[in-house]
């Protein structure tokens, strides 16, 4: 499923567009950046409540399709600017992480 479709189906607010045409393969959830660096796969979407600046670098390093901040967590403007500059999609949702993960799981499994 394309990133733009995921954004629409989950009702995400987009702060940085990234590549909307990119295919979201699967997803990864963690707030520990060392764990994301070790465990997320290229093409994964990343769901988290971690908003530190380093999330942009980690998403780029792991070639992720985008970052979704759950629970209404708002990143600092510098983080948004950095995501735009690096071409990393950055989205936010008011939903709790658990619900967001459940919805995305259904979508990617084709049962949305």
């Amino acid at each position: 499923m394309r990133l733009s479709d995921v954004v629409e189906r989950l009702g995400l607010e987009v702060l940085a567009r990234g590549n909307p045409e990119r295919e979201v393969n699967w997803a990864y959830t963690s707030d520990l950046l060392s764990d994301v660096m070790a465990g997320a796969q290229p093409g994964d979407m990343w769901l988290t409540i971690q908003r530190h600046m380093n999330i942009v670098a980690v998403a780029k390093l792991r070639d992720l399709t985008g970052i979704v901040l759950a629970k209404g967590i708002k990143p600092a403007q510098e983080v948004v600017d950095k995501a735009r500059e690096e071409g990393i999609a950055l989205m936010v949702s008011d939903k709790p992480l658990f619900e967001l993960c459940g919805e995305l799981y259904q979508l990617l499994r084709g049962r949305g």
Binding site: L33, H52, A76
Partner: protein
Amino acid sequence: MARWFKGDLHIHSTLSPCGSLYMSPRTIVEEAKRKGLDLIAVTDHNTCDNLIYVEKVACEEGITLIPGMELQTEEEVHLLAYFETLEGALAFKEEIYPFLPDVKNDPDYFGDQVVVDEHDNIVGVEEKLLVNSLLLSLDRCVEMVRSYQGVSMPAHVDREPYGIINQLGFIPDYLGFEAVEISRAIIPRDALSIWPELGRYTLVGSSDAHYPEDIGAVVTLFRMEEPSWKEWVEALEYGAEGVRIMRPFENGTG
């Protein structure tokens, strides 16, 4: 003339719930003196009220105190913050206190959080749970410490719980740390082989003591004219020429 002074700059007191009730200001200073330390820092979690009494005893015993505390940022990173004066540290504490979530400590589970004076009397109890994350980002904490002309240093960067590398993947360059602390579980050579990027920082080793016997379990030697704030900050800037981590059983005073 400059010489090497021995310091242990990460010690917890009775005010840290995880710290032993034996860690009174007097016990800490006397133990530090017994271990031959010249300078110490007592760094409780997100607060520093015991420093008032630590400084009194340290002054009597001729040990230099660097006022400090160990902040826990919203990313669950432990950050050591050091200040030139006790007043500075106390003012900083007042500023961050409102950002500590209003969760009450359960002494049976977490341990007591008590202020103990220089005569080993309990003179205060902290009700809010101190081992909690401030509602402040790491970047904001670094900035705030700087605004008090303080020095901040990520704590035990090699450790998984609350270490900056584990929490944030890597140490952000732009925060401009002069020094980082490694825990007593690792020696500098091993830390540098696992994380070569640590080579750009001055490495400081401290005990993170929660019990009297752990004080000075690892010490850092600082090359200074005298054990003062100004000289200490300069030593950090000199890196390996001004700062050396030493295990007490090694003889590396040179």
